[in-house]
């Protein structure tokens, strides 16, 4: 009788008897909650959530699709921008800074100069003929706008230019190119 009582005590949860305490790993409520079906349900939920998460981008894209940012804008006088120099302007809106570069070869290149890594401003490095983001040392090719070194993975948006006489115009933009 005493032994039976003792055994019952030993088999209670969090009893001190190590060799007898075999009930702590049994938890019926958790077994019912964390089973294969619940896992599969969560997996389907995750898949649905990820799928639906793409929808707002499509809706926003539909709303922006008609907007045309190919407005013609005078940005500089060629005579005021010697070879190896650059100047900042804004295109297509005032909140989007851009850089017009007159390269040493005499070519005109323009890109939005927010770094595609973390949006720091990008500058023209005359010596090495590259575009440099000083925040994390990201380098872009001045001729193509493509990333050459450092953390940026995407190219800088290219601004299409037109030169008429002495005046340089921005006439459009290609976000993905090359």
């Amino acid at each position: 009788m005493v032994d039976e009582k003792k055994n019952q005590k030993r088999n209670q949860r969090k009893a001190d008897d190590d060799m007898i305490n075999l009930v702590d790993n049994l938890n019926r409520s958790e077994d019912l909650r964390f089973n294969r079906r619940a896992f599969l349900k969560s997996a389907v939920g995750a898949s649905l959530t990820l799928g639906i998460a793409t929808l707002p981008f499509s809706i926003k894209a539909m709303m922006d699709d008609g907007e045309d940012d190919s407005e013609k804008l005078e940005i500089a006088k060629l005579s005021e921008l010697p070879k190896g120099e650059s100047m900042e302007f804004h295109y297509p809106t005032d909140s989007e800074p851009a850089l017009l570069v007159h390269t040493k070869n005499g070519e005109l290149k323009a890109y939005n100069n927010k770094c595609t890594h973390l949006q720091c401003p990008v500058f023209y490095e005359k010596k090495e003929e590259v575009l440099l983001c000083p925040c994390h040392r990201g380098f872009f090719n001045v001729n193509s706008g493509q990333p050459m070194a450092g953390p940026p993975q995407r190219e800088l948006p290219k601004i299409l230019l037109e030169v008429k006489g002495d005046v340089v115009y921005a006439v459009g933009r290609e976000v993905r190119h090359g």
């Binding site: 599969l40 799928g51 793409t54 929808l55 981008f57």
Partner: protein
């Protein structure tokens, strides 16, 4: 079609949707709107297929238990 197929299909749909979400965001910020629509359609279709497979799995599971 067995329960294993349902598991594989659902896990594949998660993988596909992760990729689609990443590509949708990339395309959206790159202003490639045709791609945004296409990736969204694929992601929604894949979610729907996952849902169908889950229904199928439940049916098989119930049948197995009975």
């Amino acid at each position: 079609m067995g329960k294993k197929t349902c598991w594989v299909a659902i896990l594949c749909s998660i993988f596909l949707n992760v990729v689609m979400l990443q590509w949708t965001i990339e395309a959206f910020f790159g202003k490639e709107f045709e791609h945004v629509y296409m990736y969204t359609i694929i992601a929604i279709a894949s979610s729907f297929i996952a849902l169908l497979f889950y229904g199928k799995w439940r049916k098989l599971d119930k049948h197995e238990r009975a």
